[in-house]
């Protein structure tokens, strides 16, 4: 066969130099990161005044768009949302992609705009990728509530925060100390992805806590990332134990990570020597709590997040609130909530699960 391509370096050269010329020409002047930083997308809508006494409308169309379908955690969240929408006599809808990719949510948002929903409750896979679509939705008079994972704050009306960052970080540090025992020792964190906003801010708070004298005996040796992928987390847990033979506790602030770490420990020779704690789902962890691998872990009630989000959305679509700080609204069985800075609504402190109480929870 001929190696024609190799014999024509001249063609390649000419193409290459032409391309370089184009780049050279365009390199002088133009929009760079610095010059562009000021002009952000103009979106949203003019906020009308809130009327705290407005009645909740019936028949509101409230659509939930979780990060992905078939994820047990978001199933529980949206399940709580369905209960709330039924209480509100609204129309509940659940849509979502099969993969948690940034772009796949956009098509679903577009569809919801076309279907003229009243409220979109969304857990953003990427805080920015969904923004243009969410702003289109808001321009079409749809209220946008984020839960679980926030979008940029200029493209949503309110964000349901599961718990304060401070509260979760403190609770993680406290559980790690309890598990390590009086003598302390080495601990490691098994997180989600290296850039997961939630996890990183919790770990930061945890590190600040560990710097305090109460935690002097704990030594954080490594933060590993399991990418919220079951197998990857499993392998990272293996890697941690190989690299740090004296490890006492693995703290996993993610439901995927804690389940994978617990499963690995419970089936290995490290069982009973290394403790696992963090944030997990009772149903996934029950097995490991009962066999003694895990003594204690924590989580907020995900069903309440969906429940609260639906009520916030309904209140907003009915004109009770606009998303401004200080406004109050009633969220059914959960009681009254106040909107905080940046439109954040905080659910409450996390629940701790142990062998004693785990059978009371089913999610």
């Amino acid at each position: 066969m001929e190696y024609a391509v190799l014999r024509s370096p001249r063609t390649l050269l000419s193409v290459g130099s032409a391309a370089l010329l184009v780049i050279g020409l365009s390199a002088c002047g133009g929009t760079t990161k610095d010059s562009a930083s000021n002009d952000t997308a103009a979106g949203g809508q003019a906020s009308a005044a809130a009327d705290p006494n407005a009645a909740i409308k019936e028949g509101l169309k409230i659509a939930f768009l979780p990060k992905q379908l078939n994820n047990p955690y978001s199933d529980v969240e949206t399940g709580g949302g369905k209960v709330a929408v039924d209480e509100l006599k609204g129309e509940y809808k659940l849509v979502g992609p099969n993969d948690a990719s940034a772009s796949s949510q956009v098509s679903y948002i577009n569809t919801l705009i076309q279907q003229q929903q009243d409220v979109i409750v969304v857990a953003a896979n990427d805080p920015n990728a969904v923004c243009p679509s969410l702003n289109q939705a808001r321009a079409a008079k749809i209220k946008v509530i984020t839960f679980d994972s926030d979008a940029s704050k200029d493209c949503r009306d309110a964000f349901i925060n599961q718990a304060t960052t401070q509260g979760i970080g403190e609770s993680l540090a406290k559980m790690a100390l309890e598990q390590a025992g009086a003598d302390g020792g080495e601990i490691a964190v098994l997180s989600a992805t290296p850039n997961a906003t939630n996890q990183n801010s919790w770990i930061d708070v945890m590190k600040k806590e560990l710097a305090k004298p109460d935690y002097a005996k704990l030594k954080l040796v490594k933060v590993a990332y399991g990418n919220d992928d079951d197998q990857k987390s499993f392998q990272e847990a293996q890697g941690l134990l190989q690299s740090y033979p004296n490890l006492k506790v693995i703290v996993a602030p993610t439901t995927v990570g804690i389940a994978a770490a617990a499963r690995y420990i419970s089936s290995s020779s490290y069982k009973g020597k290394v403790a696992v704690t963090g944030l997990g789902l009772p149903n996934q962890m029950r097995e490991y709590v009962k066999d003694g691998t895990v003594a204690k872990f924590a989580l907020w009630n995900p069903a309440d997040i969906g429940y609260l989000a639906a009520f916030a959305g309904a209140a907003m679509a009915s004109g009770q609130i606009t998303g401004a700080p200080g406004e109050k609204f009633k969220a059914g069985k959960l009681g009254e909530y106040t909107i905080g800075a940046d439109g954040e609504i905080v659910l409450g402190p996390p629940t701790e699960f142990t062998k004693a109480n785990i059978d009371q929870f089913n999610f």
Binding site: Y3, S26, T32, A36, N98, S101
Partner: protein
Amino acid sequence: MSETLRRSDAPGGIDLDRRPDRAGAIKSRLTSWDSIILVLTALVLLIASVTVDNFGTSRNFTFMVLDLLPIILIALPMTMIIVTGEIDLSVASTLGLTSSMMGWLWNQGLSIETIIPICVLIGAVCGVVNGFLITGLGLPSLAVTIGTLALYRGLAFVVLGDGAVADFPWNYTGWVTGTIGGGAVPNVLILIVALALVFGVVQHATPFGRSLYAIGANAQAAHFSGIRVARTKFWLYVGSGAVAGLVGVLWTLRYSSARADNGSGLELAVVAAVLLGGVSIFGGKGSLPGVLAGVVLLTALQNALRLEDVSGQALNIVTGSLLVLSVLLPNITTAVRGNWQRRKLRRAAAAR
């Protein structure tokens, strides 16, 4: 791949339709598949706009054009590559790599006007690597592009990790999602039409385009008749990479988010659309209008089903079935027609 797919491999001798005396029949069948897909597409569009609420609105039109943008652009060079009997599975990873690079370069403080041509060039370089391995070293394109599929996606993650770069200038991101004068025609439609015209003319109205069919039908014969097979294929891969790079830029701007995982899995959608459009995976057959119709059909169907609240899972089944049927149905019709003709002949003979 090539070999994996060679029609003669399917032992059952469908080689029949390569015989010269059946050339006319093939031609008519070919045109008929093209027209089937065109009619089917028109039908889906018509039925959907009548029966599906909110389908036929101008806003939905914009959404649909934006959804089909990446598939239709990458399908243009992919059609040519498959017509020559090769394949390029690395396109979506090339897209991801350019998206990552775009974010990284933007963070380095380069201007967007510099970044865009660099990104297209990066895509072209990815194509050069593919082209060299396939035509220079003579390696099978299926294996090579599965390898570079993993390689380019891996490099994309190396460049940007799991992070995202988002602060691209509004006048660019807004252009990609916007419409001409705020009307019903999306800006990117101009791009689609222009590129489709260029590729259509090259493929169907130039000697270069005709040579692709000759290569796909019989590369050896094409080589002996003076067609530079290796060089042609090489440039197709470079073109495919460059277009994938451009789509990487457009993708990043549309979602105003540069990420390493952008567009993952898109290669399957593109190949599915091209095959659905009537291009033979063995090469040598297929037309661009058919492919364009195939892309529109897939996108419109998915859009309409989503508006009707059909789950994404069902969309998977529909896509997969369409893909298999697009090859299976013509095969069955040929077999049935052959059977019927034979019977007719026999009956005629008996009557005599």
